[in-house]
């Protein structure tokens, strides 16, 4: 029955994947709202810019690497190379956590430079909020990876369905691209 099901399956996207794409559109709208607010606010009096800490360049490299590793993990899963898959998914999760830690460290550097929330708001406050919200979305991705990590190491559950791995990797690439967009947006506009 199942094989028959697969063979007659129409070339249609899995509903959960489609749901994820719509959710991504929704998240994009949220950040579009915030970056448009940035542009509107930037033309008002009292605007101040900020020097972007070097650390953000390193975190960009980390998240790019994690995108590569999640893609390789997906490939390993599809080839049923479970040992490699487990390693790669661990690497991705570690890189994700590393990214979040680096973001927090960069925020602390900025804060120590005297860039707080008080007074007239400029690019710095937007940076905290926009990059902070992005980091929260990465946290969501890390949680998804951890769930898969536990599943991958549990001996009781045998998982042959690539959908959840594909969902996680799509989302992971999305937060990566979102970061690239936000980072370039800040570099360009400051």
């Amino acid at each position: 029955m199942i094989t028959e099901v697969v063979s007659t399956q129409r070339k249609k996207i899995h509903p959960h994947k489609f749901t994820l794409w719509v959710a991504i559109a929704s998240i994009i709208m949220m950040f579009a709202g915030l970056t448009s607010a940035y542009i509107v606010k930037g033309s008002l009096p009292g605007w101040s810019t900020v020097e972007i800490p070097q650390l953000f360049y390193y975190s960009t490299a980390v998240i790019l690497l994690s995108s590569v590793s999640v893609q390789m993990a997906l490939k390993a899963f599809k080839e049923r190379n479970m040992a490699l898959y487990r390693q790669l998914i661990t690497v991705t999760a570690v890189l994700g956590i590393g990214f979040i830690v680096m973001q927090v460290l960069a925020f602390m550097q900025l804060w120590d430079r005297g860039l707080t929330m008080e007074g007239s708001s400029g690019a710095g406050q937007f940076l905290y909020i926009i990059f902070g919200l992005h980091a929260l979305h990465v946290v969501g991705g890390v949680i998804a990876l951890l769930v898969m990590f536990i599943k991958a190491f549990s001996s009781r559950i045998r998982n042959y369905d690539p959908v959840s791995v594909e969902l996680a990797s799509t989302y992971w690439h999305f937060v990566d691209l979102l970061w690239i967009y936000l980072f370039i947006f800040f570099i360009m506009s400051i």
């Binding site: 199942i2 509903p15 749901t19 559109a25 709202g33 915030l34 607010a37 007239s120």
Partner: protein, 607 residues
């Protein structure tokens, strides 16, 4: 047949949760009270949960309007009963200014979001999408359940703000800063506002989870033969509603996030050059812009009015066609105009801001775009009327409410053309003209769409009918009452009577309306009482209503009426029916109606 069975059940879904559902059918898995009525993943039960929660909010929101209408109608009198209900908010039976503004604010918030968004599209998108497209459930029943429970939590948080010492938020449902950003601005801006934002954030999550599901269900889970152009218009409307919600609510959320930072972290996104009278202090905030919040708010706020209106439009189209025994006139034009409205909804938000200091040249662009909405709206009205034209009309309660919707949509829509012009809006803004306009076109009209849906699909929801006598009284009193309340308000607004005043009697220029205001308040109370009768009818009929004995009581073509009278989880006990034609084959080739499941006869005439 085995091959057919595979195709019917949408195989790609079967690999995931469908398997689980089918098990339910086979074993008749015993459901506990908790899994059946509380944490249910059945879209029909979730729909009923949304509906009943929405009805509770509807009664509360309506009651608030009765209380503040008492103040507007009888500003010189005191009502000791108010002190018993509201305590110190109505000392001596006269409502305080703070309580008045809190009630107005909560009336707006509750009715716009909790009743006409959660209660309307939450109910009917959940109920109708799987049944009308031929799916066993939503794409993700679990997310669907979460959607309701986020809505429920949002409701509890919002409700709790009535019981904090400083009262609920009182700065208007649009929550403009600085009133919403500064705790010292008014009592309601303190804890009440924090609870308001929390509740709204939870509400946004709920409607995003719901919307995601509705979109992917409509696009991915239709039964065999159900192409997009064979969908009933209800589904098209609910689909566009979900798209609007998914793309506009996140922007509201970004606005709220910045607002939270202004409230609690000392940022100045929306605040600039403020001297607080209450604390005798100049605030350090500078360079912020309240208009920025208005942009972010109305980028949701305008699509929101279509989120409210489109489901009503969809259900009205379906009910009008079914009860005229005629195909809907101009099906593709109806779909196209829904699409046009959905696109334009994103391009007109600044028409709410003509007097806020928006650049007048920018305003003129928004005037043009706003007036463009008249075109798809007019197409829809024309098509509804031509559907009725020479139809064999059955005046069921649902049909009456559908016709009432068309009437209200025309009356309210026409005044929209006044307000869409920035030059006229400068005069009319913040007067009762605006109140009258949006209450008719968005508030009452959408309520009529909702009632139309409830009366029409109640037999499918509960396997019983609502009481007809009470339904007719409900319709006529509400219909006449709505016009008696809101029609005169247009004149008061044209004469300049401003919104949101506690007491008009101290203004000589508005004293002339004191009798009118008394009259309107009285009618509002009568209409409210009739809504209570409807609520009684609803709950009475769930248990004692006349039983539905035929599967298809309205002689309708769509798929939900091919399911059993009381469908279980999974909707169809056997295979999901296959669809062979569009949803509107009424009065064709001498037959009253042809269900969508009937194969096309080669001799059949083309529609």
């Amino acid at each position: 047949m085995s091959d057919g069975a595979v195709l019917h059940g949408h195989p790609e879904v079967r690999t995931t949760h469908e398997v689980h559902h089918d098990e339910h059918h086979v074993h008749h898995h015993q459901e506990t009270f908790i899994t059946k009525y509380v944490f249910s993943q059945d879209h029909k039960m979730i729909a009923k949960q949304f509906l009943i929660t929405g009805m509770i909010w509807g009664v509360l929101g309506g009651l608030m309007s009765v209380i503040f209408r008492l103040q507007i109608g009888y500003p010189d009198q005191s009502f000791p009963i108010l002190e018993q209900i509201l305590g110190r908010w109505a000392k001596g039976g006269k409502i305080t200014a703070d309580a008045y503004y809190a009630l107005v604010t909560m009336h707006g918030t509750v009715l716009v979001f909790f009743v006409l968004t959660g209660g309307l599209s939450g109910t009917f998108a959940n109920f109708l999408i799987p049944l009308q497209i031929g799916a066993r459930d939503m794409a993700s029943p679990f997310l669907n359940m979460l959607s309701y429970w986020f809505f429920f939590t949002a409701s509890i948080v919002m409700l709790s703000s009535f019981f904090v010492q400083t009262g609920p938020f009182s700065g208007g449902w649009t929550a403009y800063p600085p009133l919403s950003a500064l705790g010292d601005a008014s009592p309601g801006s303190k804890t009440g506002m924090d609870l308001w934002i929390t509740a709204m954030a939870l509400f946004v999550v709920s409607s995003l989870l719901g919307g995601l599901n509705y979109i992917s269900t409509v696009l991915n889970m239709r039964t065999k033969g159900m192409s997009m152009t064979r969908l009933p218009l209800t589904i098209w409307a609910l689909f566009f509603t979900a798209v609007l919600g998914v793309l506009s609510f996140p922007v509201l959320l970004s606005g709220f996030i910045l607002l939270l930072f202004d409230r609690h972290a000392g940022t100045s996104f929306y605040l600039s050059d403020i001297y607080m009278a209450s604390t005798q202090q100049a605030l350090p905030n500078e360079g912020g812009s309240a208009i920025l919040f208005q942009h972010l708010f109305w980028f949701l706020g305008h699509p929101e009015v279509y989120i409210i209106l489109l489901p009503a439009m969809g259900m009205v189209s379906e009910v009008l066609s079914t009860n005229s025994r005629k195909p809907i006139f101009g099906y593709m034009a109806m779909v196209g105009s829904l699409f046009a409205i959905a696109i334009l909804a994103f391009l007109v938000w600044a028409h709410h801001m003509f007097v806020s200091g928006l650049n007048p040249f920018l305003g003129s662009v928004f005037v043009l775009l706003t007036l463009l909405i008249a075109i798809p709206s007019a197409i829809k009205v024309f098509n509804w009327i031509t559907t009725l034209w020479r139809g064999n009309i059955r005046f069921t309660p649902g049909m009456l409410f559908a016709i009432g919707f068309v009437s209200l949509f025309i009356s309210g829509g026409l005044t929209g053309i006044f307000l869409g012009n920035s030059t006229l809006d400068i005069h009319l803004h913040d007067t009762y003209f605006v109140v009258a306009h949006f209450h008719i076109v968005m508030g009452v009209a959408s309520f009529f769409g909702m009632f139309c849906g409830i009366y029409h699909w109640f037999p499918k929801m509960y396997g019983r009918y609502l009481n007809n006598t009470m339904a007719y009284i409900h319709f006529w009193v509400t219909m006449i009452g709505a016009y008696l309340i809101f029609w005169p308000l247009h004149y008061a607004g044209l004469a300049g009577m401003p919104r949101r005043y506690l007491d008009y009697s101290s203004w000589e220029s508005f004293n002339q309306f004191s009798d009118l205001n008394k009259f309107i308040s009285t009618v509002a109370m009568i209409v409210f009482a009739v809504q209570l009768m409807f609520i009684f009818n609803f709950f009475y009929s769930i248990f004692k209503g006349r039983k539905v004995v035929t599967q298809n009581p309205w002689g309708s073509t769509t798929l939900e009426w091919t399911a059993p009278i009381r469908p279980g989880h999974g909707n169809w006990p056997g295979e999901i029916p296959e669809v062979h034609r569009w949803a509107y084959d009424y009065g064709k080739d001498g037959r009253e109606f042809i269900p969508q499941t009937e194969p096309v006869n080669p001799d059949e005439s083309k529609h």
